[in-house]
């Protein structure tokens, strides 16, 4: 087998999507459908944040498409006044791949849940990330199956008591960030539903990233898993636990910035007191490091108990996208050989009956 270098130009995530000068408001992105999530559901705040963030991109609204799977969160497209598809359980990344590959002029967003993306759709998720298709995947992680009324999910903690695990869940949960990195994702970020600013920053960078962008959003389900992320929302607790990732800055946190991240002896990272570590030994965050092990090590600092939770952008690297390359192959083929249906059908070996 031979490899072909397609020699692609560097593009931004939205470079081929038509823009408009007309000012847009959040309201423009609201559809006429009544939003039907439970009162207090974290999905509301995420919806609001996205509706207020999209106008900042200045894209033509008709060139934005939301594709979702099945789950509470997957109702999302109905509430957006864009094009949208509420598809079937777990398959949104595959459907979006076909759309993004044939339509470079669209900004394609996938909305999915922890069950949708990591159980039934786990295979599509990892392969989409691996291919680096130019689409954005927003995983609403409430660590529970909301729509089917409260069974445990692939992100539920071990021992969690749910409707289907009265004696406690036996499964080891996925760390979605580690999983995405293991699948070679070129953009990986995390934000909290309630953190409008942090979420907007990650979403903006995701939108502008060319390739698959994976964003995990911690989302509260007040009905079936209430308070799952409360420790990250309480001001004092959050300061002890959230590790904000800022490119170019040493990674440190705590009310006074007294904690920091340093390398351990195994090639991984660990958390300690800056006073003990020493400022020079702190890891300076760089999401553009090509080697996935860096971002992976960062993702491992985060744990299921949320004792330490890095948020922000873990990884943001440039590599060729599946869809750009697929389209380039079509163009190159058409240049090399003008399509002629008659000569294709006729082929080389013919005979004539007179």
């Amino acid at each position: 087998m031979t490899a072909t270098d397609l020699g692609l130009p560097a593009l931004g995530g939205l470079d081929l999507v038509p823009t408009t000068d007309e000012p847009q408001k959040a309201k423009d992105y609201k559809s006429d459908q009544e939003v039907r999530w439970c009162p207090g559901c974290g999905d509301y705040i995420v919806l609001n944040t996205i509706q207020s963030f999209l106008p900042t991109l200045g894209l033509k609204r008709e060139n934005i498409v939301f594709v979702s799977g099945i789950g509470c969160s997957s109702r999302f497209p109905y509430y957006m006044n864009t094009y949208g598809m509420h598809s079937i359980h777990g398959r949104a990344p595959a459907i979006a791949t076909g759309l993004a590959t044939t339509r470079p002029d669209l900004s394609v967003w996938v909305v999915t849940g922890d069950g949708d993306a990591l159980s039934i759709g786990g295979n599509h998720l990892i392969h989409t990330l691996r291919r680096n298709v130019n689409l954005k995947i927003l995983l609403f992680n409430n660590r529970i199956y909301g729509l089917t009324k409260g069974q445990y999910s692939p992100t539920s903690g071990q021992g969690m008591v749910t409707k289907s695990t009265p004696a406690g869940s036996l499964d080891t949960p996925f760390n979605p960030i580690s999983l995405a990195l293991g699948a070679e994702a070129s953009f990986v970020g995390r934000a909290l539903d309630s953190d409008k600013k942090g979420l907007t920053e990650v979403l903006t960078a995701a939108a502008e990233h060319r390739g698959s962008a994976f964003v995990e959003i911690y989302q509260n389900c007040p009905i079936f898993n209430d308070g799952a992320f409360d420790v990250l929302k309480d001001k004092d607790e959050a300061a002890q636990r959230i590790i904000p990732l800022t490119p170019g800055e040493p990674i440190r946190f705590g009310p006074e910035g007294e904690f920091g991240v340093t390398r351990n002896g195994w090639g991984g990272f660990e958390v300690g007191k800056v006073a003990d570590i020493g400022e020079h030994e702190l890891v300076v965050h760089d999401p553009t490091i090509a080697d996935t092990s860096y971002a992976f090590a960062l993702s491992r600092i985060g744990d299921q108990n949320l004792n330490h939770t890095p948020t922000g952008i873990f990884r943001q690297v440039t590599r060729p996208t599946y869809d750009d390359q697929a389209r380039t192959q079509l163009e190159q083929a058409a240049q090399a050989k003008t399509p002629n249906l008659q000569s294709l059908l006729t082929g080389k070996d013919t005979w004539t009956v007179a």
């Binding site: 038509p18 559809s31 459908q33 033509k60 609204r61 008709e62 060139n63 498409v65 594709v67 979702s68 099945i70 497209p77 109905y78 957006m80 006044n81 864009t82 094009y83 949208g84 598809m85 509420h86 598809s87 079937i88 398959r91 990344p93 595959a94 459907i95 979006a96 791949t97 076909g98 759309l99 993004a100 590959t101 044939t102 339509r103 002029d105 669209l106 295979n123 599509h124 392969h127 697929a326 389209r327 192959q329 079509l330 190159q332 083929a333 058409a334 090399a336 003008t338 399509p339 249906l341 008659q342 294709l344 059908l345 006729t346 082929g347 070996d349 013919t350 005979w351 004539t352 009956v353």
Partner: protein
């Protein structure tokens, strides 16, 4: 060319023909050998020679299930049957008139199919004690009376090939590998086949290894000259060109024709194509072929599984491309949920099922037509889709275009049911003039369509005639809308749980498919006196037609009709069925079409079934039809 196998000094092969020439109207030859012996290539080349000569022909390759079964064993036998004639034939032939067996395994696996008096050509070099024991021959079939009923030619093909290549500097083993071309040369001589095509082919195929090309050509000529010079063959045979319809022909397999049909459909609709697929026997060649034609705007996406394959095709369809997915029965099982989504969202989608033996993994390399009910009903709830089945390899081209026409016109997934026999089988194809292909252009929605004049876009407003909804693709200003798998309110398309609306939508989706315009069924009954109708679908067209001809030759009238549209069925089918005393439906399943016909038309169907992984034999159906016609007559008396 400076060398030649027989030292005659010239490169070209010329015959002095001391032998007697016998004229035949048709011949069936089966090349059989170990999977490593190149039998498919040999058969393919012989077929091309027959085509170039102007015979009508049909082929049936038979591959072993294992990729590299142990050498010299029965599971490792690969064969290729070609039927060529001076008239239009319908099948690859029931039984080989000539069996070329390259080793004992090939002989053992195929001899039972050769009729008494048939010709058997053997590569004696392979009949060693060891090879015989490998396949369970206690006695050497060359020395006992196993071969007594046949005309046997013993040829030391390996030795002769090595001898012919002695001066080429090629190693013994490499030289021996050219023995299939020796066999081809010999058969080409026996049947007066043109040889230039094969020599040209070998030079092109091995353009990068000219020494291999020359070795193969030498072996080919050595085989030819062996026939010419040894006198062990007293007779050669001539099969005159067939009187086919005027025009330019090529040879084509079903899978290639299917791929070309898809490309043509893309050109005729002016839509880019996205094939989302996952490799599976016997459908993979559709992917292989389409991946070569990117210049026609064909994207081939080899997905992580069948579900992603059809998902990508459906996503592309939402964006205004021609979405296509190809698979075999097990893959259809995986795609069912997405086909249902396509039914609900009413988007065009072409779903190709190249059927194989089942259930489960079943018989991947063998044929069957047992996915009809899966295509018809294999989804949750009321989920109707049109179904089209090609009847021969070349017909796959037209079937793909017709299936696309329906998908685009009615905005629906369409299932195309090919099968292993026509996928790999080949026949001459009267190359169509592309100017005669149907125009498949579609119009995307450009304006809001709300009947209430609100200026909104309602995705489920329907065309009153076809009941198809508009295709409003992303990027169109003002037509933003959301669709999905939840039930839709009629017209507006918003989510609706209203009971009456659901009842109405289920009936509307059904009515749309029931209303697909399908041509009337035509019946072939030359005598006009038939009381028995043989009705088939899909790849059994050939054997049913051949059997009908044989029966008619015996003076028994029989009518034949073949269904290309299986859903909806042609409007005149009920009336056609009612015209006959007996309707016999031969199927390579347990009576799936028969079941549909009985349910829909309340008629008695004589269901004749066989599920052996191989196509029907004309001879077998001749017997079935004859019995039925005779007993129908008796009842009438």
């Amino acid at each position: 060319m400076s060398t030649s196998a027989n030292g005659s000094g010239t490169g070209a092969l010329s015959a002095t023909r001391p032998t007697e020439v016998s004229r035949l109207d048709r011949v069936v030859i089966r090349f059989a050998g170990d999977s490593g012996d190149g039998m498919q290539l040999t058969g393919d080349r012989f077929t091309s020679e027959a085509a170039a000569f102007g015979n009508d022909l049909a082929t049936l390759p038979n591959f072993p299930a294992e990729i590299r079964a142990p050498q010299g064993t029965i599971p490792g036998v690969s064969s290729f049957q070609v039927h060529f004639a001076d008239y239009d034939i319908l099948t690859p032939g029931d039984r080989p008139d000539v069996l070329v067996a390259m080793n004992p395994a090939a002989l053992k696996a195929n001899l039972a199919d050769v009729p008494r008096g048939g010709t058997v050509i053997l590569n004696t070099d392979e009949f060693s004690k060891r090879n015989l024991t490998k396949v369970g021959y206690a006695e050497d079939p060359l020395s006992d009376d196993t071969l007594a009923p046949f005309e046997v030619h013993r040829v030391a093909m390996s030795t002769l090939t090595q001898g012919a290549l002695a001066d080429t500097g090629l190693g013994k083993k490499d030289a021996e590998r050219c023995k299939n071309m020796f066999a081809l040369g010999l058969l080409s001589w026996m049947y007066h086949r043109p040889t230039e095509g094969t020599e040209r082919f070998l030079r092109e195929k091995f353009a990068k290894k000219p020494e291999i090309a020359e070795a193969n050509i030498l072996a080919f000529r050595a085989g030819w000259n062996y026939g010419e010079t040894t006198e062990s063959f007293a007779t050669t045979f001539e099969v005159a060109p067939a009187k086919l319809e005027q025009g330019t022909y090529r040879q084509i397999t079903g899978n290639t024709a299917l791929a070309y049909g898809v490309i043509a459909a893309g050109q005729q609709s002016r839509l880019p194509i996205l094939l989302g697929t996952y490799p599976i026997t016997p459908a993979s060649d559709v992917l292989h072929e389409l991946s070569k034609h990117k210049n026609f705007g064909v994207t081939t996406f080899q997905a992580e599984d069948e579900i992603a394959g059809i998902g990508a095709a459906l996503g592309a369809a939402y964006g205004g491309a021609l979405g296509v997915t190809s698979t075999s029965g097990p893959g259809i099982a995986l795609k069912s949920e997405t086909i249902g989504l396509g039914v609900m969202m009413e988007l065009p989608l072409l779903v190709i099922d190249v059927q194989r033996g089942g259930p489960s993994t079943g018989l991947p390399t063998k044929t069957e037509q047992a996915d009809l009910l899966q295509a018809m009903f294999g989804r949750n709830s009321e989920s109707p889709v049109p179904i089209i089945a090609p009847c021969s390899p070349a017909d796959c081209f037209d079937a793909a275009i017709e299936a696309t026409r329906i998908a685009l016109t009615y905005r629906t997934p369409v299932l195309l049911l090919s099968d292993g026999a026509i996928a790999n089988g080949s026949e001459p194809w009267l190359i169509p003039d592309v100017r005669t292909l149907p125009d498949l252009t579609v119009e995307f929605a450009t304006e809001p369509n709300a009947p209430d004049g609100s200026g909104e876009h309602w995705p489920y407003v329907r065309d009153p005639e076809t009941l198809a909804r508009e295709w409003a693709v992303p990027g169109t200003p003002g037509l933003q809308h959301r669709i999905g798998g939840l039930e839709k309110a009629e017209g507006k398309g918003n989510i609706s749980y209203d009971p009456d609306n659901h009842d109405k939508m289920v009936r509307l989706r059904q009515a749309k498919i029931d209303g697909v315009d399908v041509p009337d069924l035509t019946v072939d009954d030359p005598s006009g006196e038939a009381r028995v109708l043989a009705l088939g679908w899909g790849s059994s067209y050939g054997p049913i037609g051949a059997a009908a001809r044989r029966v008619r030759k015996k003076g028994l009238p029989v009518a034949q009709a073949h269904l290309r549209h299986l859903n909806p069925l042609p409007a005149n089918l009920g009336e056609v069925l009612a015209r006959y005393d007996t309707v016999v439906v031969p199927e390579m399943n347990l009576g799936q079409l028969a079941m549909l016909l009985r349910a829909k038309y309340l008629v008695d169907i004589h269901s004749h079934t066989k599920i052996a992984g191989l196509p029907f034999k004309a001879e077998e159906l001749e017997g079935v039809f004859t019995d039925i016609i005779t007993s129908t007559k008796e009842v009438a008396r």
